[in-house]
């Protein structure tokens, strides 16, 4: 079905997520890139455009000195939680325009242990905000889901079930960081971090890398792998009225989130509706984020999550399998790599190569959504 302007993912590569002492983020990126090239059946010399980045582990184009100095135009991306999504958006645009035939996209990161400690001054806020004790991402997630749970009658049990599913899927993923199953009771009984979210409902900053090879038009058919078409990629930032991290105040007038807008554009450009999605990966920085993003993306209605999740609908064998590789909760969060990890997982599921965690039903349409500070979201629609 490929036409001249079609863009497909023709190769994927990953460096395992987790903790990897002695390996730099850049080295992980290069390893993921080599694996993606091998999967695509091409060499680095065949790539005529590359984009990539990390949030905290260096300039992606430094990896060309590891991969080889071929003169390829390489765009470094540093765009917070949308770093991978932005690199993918850029490569997609270059391919669609005909400026390139084969592109490599790479995202990697390596964060120190524990929660991030950003400084208010870097976010345009006075030092009073941090000194008062308000400069914490975990507070934001807790405040957002607490309100959402009250408005849409979401239970603590549902938050725990999201995390239990993540660890069950992670246990089936050799590249995940957390590979031990935890029960709903273990998760609810764990140390409270920020009410209503316990320790195991949050992801941790981690390490890892993912690379994708994309091709356009006739080049797709010359390559060995089953192509997974990138039908759309959409990237949006927040509008006035959306509720975002590090907000000393929020307007009473509310607006659709960056995710809502990016998802709507991605579905429209793909000509595919949320109801057609067979498998989805959504940002699960914590359990509540997965719950809210399911509705913000249009994959279900606001409030429907309670019955959908309680009935097992988002498990591997459910109506709408979500975060089939364990998501951020089981894989950890290397910021630059997360968005591309989601795309890689959808590619594997659509190819039928996801091994122990392969969704049993036939999957033809996949969806990904990455979201993060300071209110950015990137979504993709992929098909076979």
């Amino acid at each position: 079905m490929s036409g001249g302007d079609d863009v497909a993912v023709v190769g994927v590569g990953i460096h395992a997520f987790g903790r990897h002492d002695g390996v730099t983020g850049l080295e992980m990126g290069a390893i993921a890139a080599r694996r993606a090239l091998a999967d695509a059946g091409i060499t680095w010399q065949d790539v005529d455009f590359a984009a990539g980045g990390s949030d905290a582990a260096g300039n992606a184009d430094t990896s060309v000195s590891i991969l080889g100095l071929t003169g390829v135009p390489f765009v470094n991306v540093k765009n917070g939680c949308a770093t991978g999504g932005t690199a993918l958006t850029t490569a997609h645009a270059m391919l669609v325009s005909g400026a390139a035939e084969v592109a490599l996209v790479v995202g990697f990161d390596k964060h120190p242990r524990g929660a991030f400690n950003p400084l208010p001054e870097d976010w345009g806020i006075g030092s009073w905000y941090g000194e008062t004790g308000l400069m914490l991402t975990t507070q934001f997630f807790a405040l957002k889901i607490q309100r959402y749970m009250a408005e849409y009658r979401i239970s603590d049990s549902t938050l725990a079930k999201v995390a239990a599913k993540a660890f069950a899927n992670g246990a089936r993923n050799e590249n995940a960081w957390r590979r031990h199953e935890l029960s709903e009771e273990d998760i609810l009984g764990a140390r409270m971090v920020n009410h209503p979210l316990t320790q195991y409902m949050f992801c941790s900053p981690g390490e890892g890398a993912v690379a994708l090879v994309l091709a356009r038009g006739s080049r797709i058919r010359e390559l060995p792998r089953v192509p997974v078409y990138l039908r759309s990629v959409a990237f949006r930032t927040r509008r006035f009225g959306s509720f975002e991290v590090f907000s000393p105040s929020i307007p009473i007038e509310s607006a659709p989130s960056a995710t809502t807008e990016a998802a709507a554009v991605a579905f429209e450009e793909a000509g595919i509706g949320p109801g057609d999605v067979d498998v989805a990966q959504v940002q699960d920085t914590e359990s509540g984020a997965e719950v809210m993003h399911l509705a913000e993306t249009g994959l279900c209605e606001h409030g429907e999550q309670e019955s959908l999740i309680q009935s097992g609908g988002t498990q591997l064998d459910g109506r709408l399998p979500v975060n089939t590789d364990g998501g951020c909760l089981a894989c950890g969060e290397p910021i630059g790599a997360s968005g591309l990890r989601q795309v890689r997982e959808v590619v594997l599921q659509l190819r039928g190569e996801a091994g122990e965690r392969q969704v049993p039903k036939q999957c033809r349409v996949g969806f990904t959504q990455v979201y993060g500070a300071p209110g950015v979201s990137a979504c993709t629609v992929l098909t076979v």
Partner: protein, 145 residues
């Protein structure tokens, strides 16, 4: 008492008034009426640069809440704040017709917090710098409403 008391607040651009009757300083857009906190030099809604400072309401309703159960990292928290850390409440308080303000809460017992409860502005010592004051919201007893 004729002694004048200097307001020892954490940031005089954020908190105004007196220690007994403090208020938060926001801004209001002259074109579209949008209220922001803290003060901004332009309107995030309509992009107008015609914005004026505004003394915000000191009472409102709890819109959402959480309990901060682990000590924040220093910086941006103060090292003394980490040493004396005890779990504290955090919430957004909806000031009617204005804006929802994020603040520490004087209440840290999850059983005693509920969305919609009335809250009032107060000042508390800055954790780790007791000679300075920051703002917080405290539950208002029902009979005071």
């Amino acid at each position: 008492m004729t002694e004048t008391r200097t307001l020892r607040v954490i940031d005089p651009d954020v908190i105004g008034g007196t220690e007994d009757e403090p208020h938060l300083i926001g801004s209001v857009c002259a074109r579209c009426g949008t209220v922001t906190f803290p003060r901004q030099s332009s309107c995030p809604r309509c992009t107008s640069e015609d914005v004026q400072p505004r003394e915000l309401a000191t009472r409102g309703e709890l819109w959402s809440w959480t309990i901060q159960c682990f000590p924040p990292k220093a910086p941006p928290y103060l090292p003394g704040g980490v040493e004396e850390f005890k779990p504290y409440g955090v919430g957004y308080i909806e000031l009617p017709g204005e804006v929802r303000v994020e603040a520490r809460l004087t209440e840290s017992d999850p059983e005693r917090l509920r969305i919609g409860m009335p809250m009032a502005l107060t000042l508390i010592p800055v954790p780790g710098a007791p000679d300075k004051l920051t703002f917080a919201f405290e539950p208002v007893a029902e009979e005071e409403e």
